[in-house]
């Protein structure tokens, strides 16, 4: 934990993560980075990348993990709760309003068709993001092999996710030991 003079207050963290959550259309990461690194200078670029990579390879929603870890670093458990609640308060209220509208009007033909187009666009958004994230791994035979292997286990053979990870992780670790100097 940082020394007292550098610790953020609960209110400061709540405000920062509240704004990040509220602006985070289509992914909170770029907004969180802008607030934490560029605007408020709570972390350097390298510190941010370091903490975020941890949150990425631990399970769970990456950015929520990030808020929890960041909050805990400054104010312990209550800090983790403050940052997490700040991040999610606005999005949860907004999605509940949208969800209630969907439950009420989702069967109207015009809404139904609009949602069909929306779902198609949302799957395109995920495809584009997946290709961006997988991109570097697709360029080397060993990592490309693992990408294809995990895809086949999960999407083609339809194995349950825990089994997919139990099979793919040892293989990938074995290859990574040789790759990483």
């Amino acid at each position: 934990m940082p020394v007292e003079s550098q610790r953020l207050t609960h209110a400061e963290m709540f405000r920062g993560f509240f704004i990040a959550g509220l602006s985070g259309f289509g992914g909170v990461l770029p907004f969180a980075r802008r607030i934490v690194v560029e605007r408020r200078k709570w972390l350097t670029e390298a510190e941010f990348a370091d903490l975020f990579s941890l949150c990425q390879f631990l399970p769970g929603p990456n950015i929520v993990n990030f808020a929890a870890a960041f909050g805990a670093r400054h104010r312990g458990i209550s800090g983790a709760l403050t940052a997490t609640v700040g991040l999610l308060a606005a999005p949860i209220v907004i999605v509940l309003i949208l969800g209630t509208l969907y439950e009420r009007f989702g069967t109207l033909p015009v809404v139904h068709h609009g949602l069909g187009g929306l779902a198609a666009a949302a799957s395109g958004l995920i495809l584009g993001t997946a290709l961006k994230i997988a991109g570097p791994s697709l360029r080397h035979p060993a990592t490309l092999g693992i990408v294809v292997f995990a895809f086949v286990l999960f999407a083609v053979l339809r194995l349950p996710l825990p089994l997919v990870i139990a099979i793919a992780l040892p293989v990938s670790l074995g290859l990574a030991v040789f790759r990483v100097k």
């Binding site: 959550g21 985070g24 259309f25 289509g26 992914g27 909170v28 903490l51 949150c55 990425q56 390879f57 631990l58 399970p59 769970g60 929603p61 990456n62 950015i63 805990a72 670093r73 458990i77 991040l87 606005a90 999005p91 907004i94 999605v95 969907y102 439950e103 033909p109 015009v110 068709h113 949602l115 069909g116 187009g117 929306l118 779902a119 198609a120 666009a121 949302a122 799957s123 395109g124 958004l125 495809l127 584009g128 997946a130 290709l131 994230i133 997988a134 791994s137 990592t143 990408v147 292997f149 995990a150 895809f151 999407a155 996710l161 990870i165 992780l169 990938s172 670790l173 990574a176 990483v180």
Partner: protein, 171 residues
């Protein structure tokens, strides 16, 4: 007890979400369809609604909870999706700080990255199969994916475009 069923399902998803929530989407959809909470196209539509809201894509859990058990279901599902993984992250982040330069840490990272890539592509293929019931929907998916990859167009604009084409093209 429906709330308990929601909590158990999303707590499991929370701990399975390696690389983020998106990689659990197929497993989540299989589970909610098997329990007759939603059909696959309803799941795809709810995911579209979740993506149209600001915030992380774990909001799909909030919406499934809302659909199954109202506001209390929404809050229970959201909390269950967050609590296990956040607790784990807080515990591990102390250790992570200590082993910043360790060799094994880079090996683990190098091993996880391609698996995450494969899981995310699987999630995308699942959503595409659920959402794209004809060539027009498939074309929307393809164009949005290209814009996401090659441009800096705001994601909300792409979603709105898809919804508009849906309304105009079918209605």
């Amino acid at each position: 007890m429906i709330l308990l069923a929601l909590v158990l399902l999303f707590a499991e998803m929370s701990l399975l979400a390696i690389g983020g929530v998106a990689s659990t989407l197929p497993a989540m959809a299989r589970a909610v369809v098997a329990r007759h909470w939603l059909t696959a196209p309803q799941f795809a539509a709810l995911f579209g609604v979740a993506q149209s809201s600001p915030g992380p894509n774990m909001l799909i859990a909030t919406l499934i909870g809302l659909h199954v058990a109202g506001i209390s279901g929404a809050l229970a599902a959201s909390a269950a999706m967050i609590a296990p993984s956040s607790t784990l992250t807080v515990l591990v982040s102390g250790l992570w700080e200590r082993f910043r330069a360790a060799h094994w840490r880079r090996v683990v990272q190098a091993a996880i990255t391609p698996i995450t890539g494969g899981l995310l592509l699987a999630a995308a293929s699942f959503l595409i199969r659920a959402a794209d019931h004809d060539w027009r929907a498939a074309a929307i998916t393809l164009v949005v994916a290209l814009f996401t990859l090659k441009s800096r167009v705001h994601p909300l604009l792409l979603l709105a475009g898809g919804a508009l084409i849906g309304v105009l093209g079918y209605a």
